[in-house]
Symmetry: D2
Subunit: 334 residues, 4 copies
């Protein structure tokens, strides 16, 4: 961390700052220019709150030069993290395809889709039991019953299941769930993150709608600081001014994460674009850019069905998507 | 809601849609142009999921023309809501000034500030007991102990207290708290909103960092749909590309909310700007634009204190701010 | 400017960098920590391209600590700039009200509005002759003829006129215009800025739709570096995800500019909000926050007129707005 | 276009609106609900200014249902546009690789790079002669001299050249340039777009930093409405809150454009990411997503060079990138 002092600072003020920093085992190196005095803070500055220093009236500016996360930082863990989900490996060159319906609606719906996506090549099954909906009047999910159906589909197909938790009071219901998903709106639900840090479940941590990559990694750090290292990051689009897609899928986040962190990162093109016709091209691009996997919405398709989301693929579309993605993977993995 | 059909739709498809809508008591008015067929959906469309209709392959586009919120909508409740917080009225021409420290740190700190801000004209006391922090290594607040100190300061000064809840498991601790604050990061923590809807506590609902005004009102609707109408909205800045301020305070949200809803709306210039030097001008502007109040961070100021936030005012700054704001209020309230 | 070196840099690389910086009269102060070597660049670094340094493979990061603008910087010009526009003073405690129609449409329309806004208290007349329109099929303005009509209205009322230039090839037509407006879309039309720097006309420089405050001041610096110091900055809303208003008026830009620069800054609530019903509250807030003036769209109001913009006020609305703004000014100017 | 009337509109007001629309050959279809009257506007509404209608006090809302662009619209031109640039075909399944230095600096620099990128597989040469720089103190490009050097490099290698125009006064200098680039900051320089519409040169039209896809297509429409159909669109990143990359490359814009328009669209990963280490993954992803080409910055690499941008590749990096991209293309083009 670097601190710039104003020209007219007083020695006494500097001494107070230095003493406070020393109490946190942070040393100060000073560099006096003709107009500007610069302090270099040496040591573990992750616990120093830069805003507190910025508040001092003799301080001009504060610049952080170290990432504020440690456990998620590739500098300290150069090797890719590989997570074992009931035998399915995520990260480190393995490519995961998680597929399934937006919401769990019935045993028949879920099992039909599960068998279909497995046949096409999916490695895990997703399905929403608890559904975050912007309107209190919209369907809120089958909740506990939905999880039971997911477990049935798991028994049937052998696919590990991924489903979203919305509140830590639901945690007991997730005992047999393989991967617990934290949705975009909960990325900074810090109490939930802390509770998940004390489990040993793999966590699928979605990026918040307006979260920077650093904030996202800090949320991973919350879970990791509790002792749980099994984090799968998931890029799902950020909020911008563009309205032609629901969100803007930030594929550059994949190489950025690869450079900053050792954690696996997958991509959700369904929620990001909001339109089924854009899911295939963005899935293929995600495979090309080096993502560790995809999470894709697939619906079953009885005639006249009205309840399929605009962003879901048919099983046939999904089957073709997997083929295209695998062709790209062959090139990328070379 | 308006639905545009593609040119080549089939009568059978239209009939299925019409039947489904009828099952929700929504009527369809048809308008056939030479190139385009337009359906006008008449009735209570708040339960119709527009994305489901958009997914139909014979549908070109869907436009919502009614707001999706009802209880928060000024159309159905033309009168301003006035909330009684232990005798202090919020909304309907009353101007609230909520002040206090960012975090509760000690009894002495809190009581000193409480007495000082009361003297300057604050109508409620704020102070963080549970602190949402982006880093797991930063101070997480005094938690339950902090709430006890707030209650002491309330006893001392008579000021109603406002403090933030971070998870619904903490709800029992808020029995004697006067206003429960829902932070920006929890604006779409729907399980928490539902639980708060079943209490009869006034709720201070902060706008999410990248929440549209409509989403914010939908979050109010979540609480109201549970039976609790006592919502105070709080604009606290949105995330944009600008970096000179921490967030961009969207003061136009105040007249927009006034036009769309009957709920009171206050402004938080401290968190929005992130710099104490911008708090006064933005507070004065908030009073001028017609906000129902302010929430301001104030710290006490022992010599050499290092732990005051960059965004907090001194008691003296706050005293001057209140005077300026009151002068503006006199003009605006005319 | 501060440069952080990677741990394994070579002395030879450092020497090359040092020599290159010396050639620009920039000195290097070095501070070696156990893990990190920090260079402090001392001297006039405004000509050093930080991205070039960041490109060096032994450099970890570069942080600029000085503002890259000089002529627009309050540090070097502590006094407010006051601009004389044909006897009307802008900045330094003077409050300017610029009003008029969106587009000049006819002599009668313009002169009626001009006389009306003058009576209400406007200090300058605005009106678009060249109109930037997103669609090539929309009305492109009266162009040269429009400027002639503005000059007639000026003769009639004595109000100085403000109108927008869209290309430097139009410059000759602006000989008798009092203030040349540079629109948001041209804020970084650098060839135009350079040409305007060689005139002695006051320039109204609107902020670009997604311009940071620093970029905006750099555009002012472009004009000033050519020799023309008469810049009036104009905040007109930035592009965000919010759709309830056309843009998000960033009123915090006013105190930020006041802190960083000596140039006057006015506010355009008409374009920013896009709705006439939000113009008055945002104008009043702009006066309260300390802006040096307003630019407001006013249309004349024959019965059944169809061509008035959604964002324009009637003369009567404008008259009331001026009264409210002046009441606020009295409080603020105290 | 759809117009929603307020409940209490008057017949006379409606008649005025209807008459005005008729004058533009637009018919009105009416649909009266119990609470809401909806007008469907039938005909060519591209010349109807929706904001003017929204301004009428008996109108509740206006929704556009047709795209406001015609010549750029795939609906009216289902076939891909293929542009012939001196024998090099762009669009319609052809993949273009445009490469070269950020700025033209000398004959030797340019010719060395030109020969190198040609050997690696580039199909056109890029190089900046006129440089848009945010700072007036930064290098502004070799200008006319730079274009002469580009023409020399073209003679040497046979590669068509692409270079940026910054103002229409420079147009004469572009007589022998093969593709005229319009930069992001000039995407809505409407006078320039109109002038380019009267040439028969291929135009590389970059997306503005905060431009929606619709606005971008409207800028293409400006050029096309003048008679020039040879537009190559170029996605180059949009401005968001994320700071880990210079801009956020919006790769979903590629399939969106492919769906809305027949124009070719290429991708610029160099400017979008701002870091050379992210250029290769984003280039490969662009090829996978279906872009019609790439524009890549390449610098030559004498020892100790300081003037290479952080975002430029070495010739060796570029050579590898082309190989990877071509492997992906083989899969995608199947």
């Amino acid at each position: 961390m670097i601190v710039l002092l104003k020209e007219n600072y007083k020695e006494e003020q500097l001494e107070n700052l230095r003493a406070w920093l020393k109490s946190m085992s942070v040393d100060v190196k000073m560099s006096k220019g003709s107009h500007q005095t610069i302090l270099g803070l040496v040591g573990d500055t992750s616990q120093v709150d830069s805003e507190l220093i910025l508040a001092l009236d003799f301080v001009e500016d504060v610049k952080r030069v170290q990432e504020p996360y440690k456990k998620a930082n590739r500098k300290f863990h150069p090797e890719d993290t590989v997570i074992d989900v009931n035998g399915v490996k995520v990260g480190g060159g393995n490519f995961s395809i998680i597929a399934g319906p937006c919401s769990v609606e019935s045993e028949q719906q879920l099992c039909t889709i599960a068998e279909s996506v497995k046949k096409s090549g999916a490695t895990m099954l997703r399905g929403g039991a608890f559904k975050p909906r912007t309107s209190p009047y919209a369907f809120q999910g089958m909740r506990g019953e939905g999880i039971k159906l997911l477990l049935k589909a798991k028994e049937l197909t052998g696919l590990p299941i991924v489903t979203e938790i919305m509140d830590l009071s639901q945690l007991d219901l997730f005992d047999d769930v393989d991967v617990i998903q934290v949705g975009a709106r909960n990325m900074q639900n810090f109490e939930l993150l802390k509770a998940l840090g004390k489990t040993d479940k793999p966590i699928l941590l979605k990026r918040g709608l307006s979260a920077t990559i650093q904030e996202w990694l800090m949320s991973a750090e919350y879970i990791m600081s509790g002792g749980n290292d099994k984090i799968i990051l998931c890029e799902r689009g950020i909020r911008t001014f563009e309205t032609a897609t629901r969100n803007t899928l930030d594929l550059s986040a994949v190489p950025v994460i690869k450079s900053l962190s050792h954690l696996p990162v997958i991509v959700d093109p369904s929620h990001a674009t909001g339109f089924s016709r854009y899911v295939r091209p963005m899935a293929v691009a995600a495979a090309a850019v080096g993502a560790d996997g995809l999470i894709i919405e697939v619906h079953n398709d009885p005639p006249h069905a009205l309840c399929d989301g605009a962003q879901s693929l048919t099983p046939k579309d999904f089957d073709e998507l997997v083929k295209d993605v695998m062709d790209i993977r062959k090139v990328v993995a070379k």
